[in-house]
Symmetry: C2
Subunit: 300 residues, 2 copies
Amino acid sequence: MSPAVEVTLAQFLQEQRALVDQELERLLPRADEYPVTIHRAMRHSVFAGGKRLRPVLCLEAGRLASGEEKPLRRVAAALELIHTYSLIHDDLPALDNDDLRRGQPTCHRVFGEAMAILAGDALLTLALHALAEPGLCLAERQLRMISDLTRAIGTPGGMVAGQVADLEAANGAADAEALEFIHRAKTGAFIAASLRAGALVAGAAEADLDALAVYGEKIGLAFQIADDLLDVSGTSAELGKTPGKDDRQRKATYPGRYGIETSRRRAESLVREATAALERFGARAQRLREMAQYLIERTA
Amino acid sequence: MSPAVEVTLAQFLQEQRALVDQELERLLPRADEYPVTIHRAMRHSVFAGGKRLRPVLCLEAGRLASGEEKPLRRVAAALELIHTYSLIHDDLPALDNDDLRRGQPTCHRVFGEAMAILAGDALLTLALHALAEPGLCLAERQLRMISDLTRAIGTPGGMVAGQVADLEAANGAADAEALEFIHRAKTGAFIAASLRAGALVAGAAEADLDALAVYGEKIGLAFQIADDLLDVSGTSAELGKTPGKDDRQRKATYPGRYGIETSRRRAESLVREATAALERFGARAQRLREMAQYLIERTA
C-alpha cells in the first residue's frame, strides 16, 4: 500500500469515526441525567477512544447498497454500544481483569464493579432499543437485522459463547477446533453481522449479503489473529491496554499454537480471501478492501 | 377472596407456569450444547422455580385482545429470560451478594462470577433474539413492542436505572422521590411493559394498551411494596431467598420509610386502583384482577 493511499484511508477513518461519535452522542443519555453515575460510566467507556471498526464496516456495507445515511448511522452507533458493552464485561475482575482499555482506566476501575456490570447491561439494552426504533427501514428487514445480530452476539454460536470458550480454554491446551470456534464466535460473528446489518438496513440483495458475510467472517478471523500478534509484540502505549496478558493468562491464541510466522501468513491469506469476496462490488468496495489490509497492518 | 376462588387461581397459575416452562425449554440451548457451561448456567437460573409472573401477565393481556397463543407464549417466555438475567446480575457479589434465589444457590455460587455475568448477558441477548423472530405478528407492531420493552428495562427510566438508584440509596437516606423512582423504574416499568408486550403482539387497541399500562404500573408498585414487606416478615423457607437483607444493606424500602401499616394500606389502595383500570374489559379481565390481589396476599 502506498503512503498516499494510507493517508487517505486514515483521513477517511477519522471522518467516519467523527460521524459515529456524533450519533453516539445523540443516542446516549446525558452525563447529568438521573441516575447520573451509570450514564457517566456508559459515556466513559464509549468515549474512551476506539477505532469504531464495526460501525465503519456497517456504514460502508450499507453504502454499497446505496442505503440512506441516517438509519445507517443509527445502526452503526448501536453496534459500537454493543461492542463497548462486551469490552466492559470482558475487562471485569472475574473475567480478564484488565486495568486499561483504549488507553484509559477500565470502567470498573473508575466506577466500581457493580456500576460496570450495570453499564454494560444498559449499553446492550440501549443498543437494542436504538435498533428497534420504528421506521429505520422496512419493518420486516429491521426485524431480520435484529434477529441476525442477536444471534451473532449471544450463544451458542456468537460472541458470548466465544468468550466462554476462551475462558475455558485458558490454563489448558485448546485444540485447533476450539481455537477456531473461539475466533469465529468471539470476533468473527459480530463483525460479519455488523456488515450484514448495514446491508440489511440499506435493502441489499441476498447475494450481496452473502458476499459481505464471507468478507466479514474472513476479516474477523484475520483481525483476531492480528490482535493476538499485537499482544505478543505491541507495547502498552501502542495498544492502550496491557500487552502480554494472553500469555500470562495462558489464553488460546493463534501465535501460541501455530507460531508467529504461520499466524502472519494465515492473516494475510484471510485478507486476500476477504478481498476476493468483494469482487462483485467493483471499485465501490475500495474502502472495504483497504480496511481489510489495514486490520492486519495496524499497530494498535 | 373465598378459598374456592383462591384454589382456582392457584391452579390457573400452575397451568400457566407449565406452558411458559415448555416454551422456555424450546427457547434455551440444550444443556449439552457447546460451550456447555454457559448453557447449564442459563438453565440453572431459569429453571430454579419462580412465579413466572411477568409471562402470565403478558399472556392474559394478550388474551384480552384475542391474541394467538403461539406468538404470545414466545413473548412471555422471552420476558422470563429477561427477568432471570436481571436476577442473576443483581445477585452478584458486587451487587446484592445473594447466595439464595428461588430456594436454590444463585448462579455465581454454582458456576462462578464470570459465568454468571456471561449467563445474564446471554439470557438478555437470547430474549431479544426471540422477540425479534420474524413473523411473530405485524412487523411494525413487533418493532414497537421491542422498542417499548427495551425502554422499560434500560436507562434512564427503566429497570437498570432503578437498580442503580437502589444501590446508590443504600447506606443513605433515600428521600420519598428517590424511593418512588426506584420502585417505578426497577419493577413497575418492566411489569407494565410485560402487559403491553402481550397486548401489542395481540394487536390491542391503543385505549386497551393505556389501560393495561395503568394496571401494570399500579401492580408493579404494589408488588414491590409487598416484596419489601415480605423481606421484613418472611422466612428464608417461604421466600427462597435470604430475608432481612434490605435492612442489613440499609436499602431504601417502603416499610423502612413509612412503616409497615402505611405500606400495607398503600399496597391495598394501589391494587384497588389497578383493578379499576381494568373496568373496560369486564369479566374477561377476572384473572388479572385476581392476580393483583394475589400479589399483595402472597407469602413468597
